[in-house]
């Protein structure tokens, strides 16, 4: 099917009206890029794009001129017309030209003002609706990470440390995570479905509502009810650093080949943006175009996501909230190895293959990374009005504690200690009800 035919009426009309061509040049590549990738957008992004384009297209010629007058004035001051700006795709070369301009900060403020005005006029109702939803951010520090819950609380400044009623000699033995995420053991001694597995089965849920990000496959194995078999639609977005190894290495191989030159960098990024990556994708990523493109974009924006599992988990969760506004984000941090002597300077080389030296785990360094990045994940949620009713729970597997943060209406703020895992599960189930 022609991609044009997939577009909603509002976007088709904007194309017929040649709307984008009438906008300032620094706006054009962003919007053209977004429209051309309509099919691979999450539902939230599609709603936002429709509102944005629909609002701009509804403006009178005077209204349109008013909205963008500041941007046009700055583009003139920045001498943008002297450069060949692509209208179709944002490039590093153009970003670099903008950021070097003495007017860059002013331009950025003006762009922000335009978006604020559009959001206020076109998206306020949707944001108000979404901000009433209760959401959940569940962050797990596994037993391998020596994290002191008190230090996490000091960093977050606001939260409650909750002592858990936990005994390791349960029979059959279960971890704290299993005790919270799974139901009680059943006759066959297997744990029953947990509250998240029940949640994704409710009517109206989409794969973009629940995200699980982890270094390995522990959570997806534990929460088998989040997985589905085609042709059944996916129930959740499941991302594993280990499972994406081929994708990561494929991207890094291209980045390694880059010459120290911005046009070469743009050429390589353009290739990575357009190439068929299906061979690199595990099924849970390759089968969902929006998730596949999310991962491509995640690795291209870097922030350590192709290199370190904790950076992948944090940046993935933050980007998921930015692009898909999920209701539930479940993120587990993990253990990385120490940088190897000498070879670690070649950052993009595969350190497993760079030297026969055995890897040495770095629990302390990984814990420090995880503490900071868990905090960033929480701060990432706090940026959006839709997350103002987000309850946050950090689980420390090494010690039987949890950190509670979020709105005061979240019942765990007032729960009497010690709290059994089943009680936490019940509270979370009811929070998402």
């Amino acid at each position: 099917m022609n991609q044009q035919e997939n577009l909603p009426a509002i976007l088709r009309k904007a194309q017929e009206d040649r709307l984008i061509e009438r906008l300032p040049i620094t706006f054009q590549p962003f919007l053209n890029q977004e429209i051309s990738r309509w099919d691979t957008k999450f539902p939230y992004e599609q709603r936002y794009l429709e509102s944005l384009i629909g609002f701009i297209d509804s403006l009178s010629p005077e209204g349109l001129a008013d909205l963008f007058a500041g941007v046009r004035r700055l583009e003139t001051s920045m001498g943008i017309s002297e450069h060949q700006f692509s209208a179709q795709e944002q490039t590093m070369r153009e970003a670099s030209i903008l950021s070097r301009s003495p007017h860059y900060l002013e331009w950025r403020q003006e762009i922000e003002r335009v978006f604020q005005q559009v959001d206020h006029s076109a998206f306020a109702e949707e944001q108000a609706r979404a901000s009433r939803l209760r959401r959940l951010l569940l962050l797990i520090f596994p037993a391998a990470l020596p994290v002191d819950p008190q230090s996490v609380m000091e960093q977050w400044q606001r939260g409650r440390l909750l002592r858990l009623d936990w005994s390791a000699d349960d029979s059959p033995p279960r971890s704290i995570v299993e005790g919270i995420l799974k139901g009680l053991p059943q006759a066959d001694e297997q744990s029953g479905p947990g509250f998240l597995e029940e949640y994704v089965g409710r009517p109206g849920r989409s794969f973009a509502d629940v995200w699980v990000l982890e270094p390995g496959i522990r959570l997806r194995t534990l929460l088998s009810g989040l997985q589905s078999a085609p042709p059944e639609p996916p129930r959740a977005t499941l991302l594993s650093f280990d499972e994406l190894k081929a994708f990561r290495e494929g991207v890094l191989d291209h980045i390694k080949s880059m010459a120290r030159d911005i046009s070469d960098a743009d050429a390589i990024y353009a290739k990575l943006r357009s190439m068929d990556v299906s061979e690199w994708c595990p099924p849970e990523v390759g089968n969902i175009p929006a998730v596949r493109e999310f991962i491509r974009s995640l690795f291209l924006t870097g922030n350590g996501s192709p290199l370190f599992s904790n950076a992948f988990v944090e940046w993935g969760a933050v980007e998921a909230m930015a692009h898909a506004r999920p209701t539930v984000v479940l993120a587990e941090f993990g253990l990385r190895n120490k940088p190897k002597p000498f070879t670690s300077v070649a950052v993009f080389e595969n350190q497993e293959k760079a030297t026969p030296q055995a890897p040495v785990p770095d629990p302390e360094g990984s814990a420090l990374d995880a503490v900071m990045l868990a905090y960033y994940t929480w701060l990432g949620a706090a940026r959006y009005v839709e997350y103002q009713r987000t309850a946050c729970l950090c689980l420390f597997e090494d010690v039987p504690y949890a950190l509670v943060a979020g709105p005061t209406e979240f019942p765990l703020w007032k729960e009497k200690e010690p709290v059994p895992p089943e009680r936490i599960a019940a509270v979370l189930r009811s929070w998402l009800a």
């Binding site: 933050v318 990385r336 026969p356 030296q357 701060l379």
Partner: protein, 407 residues
């Protein structure tokens, strides 16, 4: 929460640059000096090389150390001072410390360093493909003071810095007055990549073979692909032995095997061989932050703190530098604030104080008394101030001169 350090509580000490004050040598650095000397004895010619034949050679030496981007909260703050024990406890009390310094330019590596060395906010290609548009401190000093080529060096770990940093496109100056530019870490990276590419990964687990790999790249490349620009080196090959000394120390010592450690050893060798009048050192272990590891970023800060301290100690042991050296330490910029949409400490793109507000520490003689200066200054004030200190003028700089550095 970040708290600025209460500088007034810091006990004042006499300046370390004063010979009579003595040098607080740690056992580690002492052993390192001894080991360097032994290495030097074993390598023919290493200690026999003397500073370049003197043309016009100023009495003063200048060392500028720029260690990437660090935030206040990880350095000069209540929460951060544990990461910089040497800067905070050993060096701050004897320094002139500017606590309120702004980078008002483009907070990318090449532009920030270009702005520091030229005294103008540079807005050139972030990837280092264009030279600064106004003269550098290196060019002012070489032209106005008639310095020989061996008198001015820039040594950088950061791969984003290119040889274009050594000379501007200003027509009255240019290549005749350029600085020597070397990138020790690139040598190491090239050696690792070469070994992996040629299937010799096993060599990377054996220190003697690591040394052979690095030396092979050094000798075979003739500096091609490494971006180095050493004036007259292709004819003389003078730098091979000092760099090989540095490689040997790097590989054989127990110091961390990071790019900055190699940069440090190469710096020491250049100091021994040429005793340059102006030495600009750029460290970048701190920039591990870009890869999302906070612990590696903090380890980079601690490593840099140690290397700066050891470098300062070396100036006190070297006759060419003791008592006549001004050492200036300033970060390129901070980093983005926690919770920013640019992902906090990983990047340096925001327009916040966290990213733009930095500090400058000045050590040595002759300086005015140790003090903390709270008045706002700008990074572009550094070049004209250092030019005046060296006895020349940064005529095209927009920066002001800092009175405390007039000496």
């Amino acid at each position: 929460m970040t708290h600025d350090v209460g500088f007034s509580k810091i006990p004042r000490m006499s300046c370390n640059g004063n010979k009579s004050a003595g040098v607080d040598l740690s056992k580690r650095s002492f052993l390192q000096v001894i080991s360097s000397s032994l290495v030097a004895k074993l390598v023919p010619g290493a200690l026999h090389a003397s500073p370049a034949a003197k043309g016009n050679r100023p009495d003063r030496r200048l060392i500028v150390v720029v260690p990437g981007g660090v935030r206040r909260q990880e350095t000069f703050s209540e929460t951060g001072k544990k990461n910089i024990p040497h800067l905070y406890q050993n060096l701050l009390p004897s320094s002139v410390f500017y606590a309120n310094v702004r980078n008002d330019g483009v907070t990318s590596h090449f532009n920030s360093i270009s702005s520091i060395v030229t005294g103008n906010w540079q807005r050139v290609d972030d990837w280092g493909m264009q030279p600064p548009t106004t003269p550098t401190l290196f060019e002012y000093a070489r032209k106005q003071l008639g310095l020989d080529p061996g008198e001015v060096w820039l040594i950088s770990s950061n791969k984003v810095v290119t040889e274009q940093i050594g000379v501007s496109s200003a027509t009255a100056y240019g290549p005749s007055y350029r600085a020597n530019v070397v990138f020790p870490k690139q040598l190491l990276v090239a050696a690792v990549e070469e070994a992996i590419g040629k299937g010799r990964q096993q060599n990377m687990a054996d220190r003697s073979k690591v040394q052979e790999e690095i030396e092979a790249v050094l000798r075979s490349s003739n500096y091609e692909g490494l971006g180095w620009n050493i004036i007259g080196e292709r004819q003389s090959g003078e730098m091979l032995a000092p760099v090989e000394n540095a490689i040997q120390q790097f590989v054989r010592s127990n110091a961390p095997a990071t790019g900055d450690q190699l940069t440090y050893f190469v710096t020491l060798e250049i100091m021994r061989k040429y005793a340059p009048s102006i030495l600009f050192v750029n460290f970048s272990d701190i920039e591990a932050a870009h890869f999302g590891s906070y612990s590696m970023h903090v380890a980079g800060i601690r490593n840099t703190d140690r290397l700066i301290y050891e470098l300062w100690q070396q100036t006190q042991l070297n006759d060419e530098y003791r008592g006549n050296t001004l050492m200036v330490i300033l970060p390129e910029f901070g980093r983005d604030p926690d919770g920013s949409n640019t992902n906090g400490f990983l990047n340096h793109r925001s327009n916040d104080d966290t990213c733009r507000r930095v500090w400058i520490m000045c050590l040595g003689q002759p300086l005015s008394r140790p003090q903390v200066i709270d008045r706002p200054v700008r990074q572009v004030d550094v070049c004209p101030s250092l030019a005046v200190w060296m006895g020349c003028r940064a005529t095209e700089s927009a920066g002001a001169t800092l009175a405390e550095l007039r000496g």
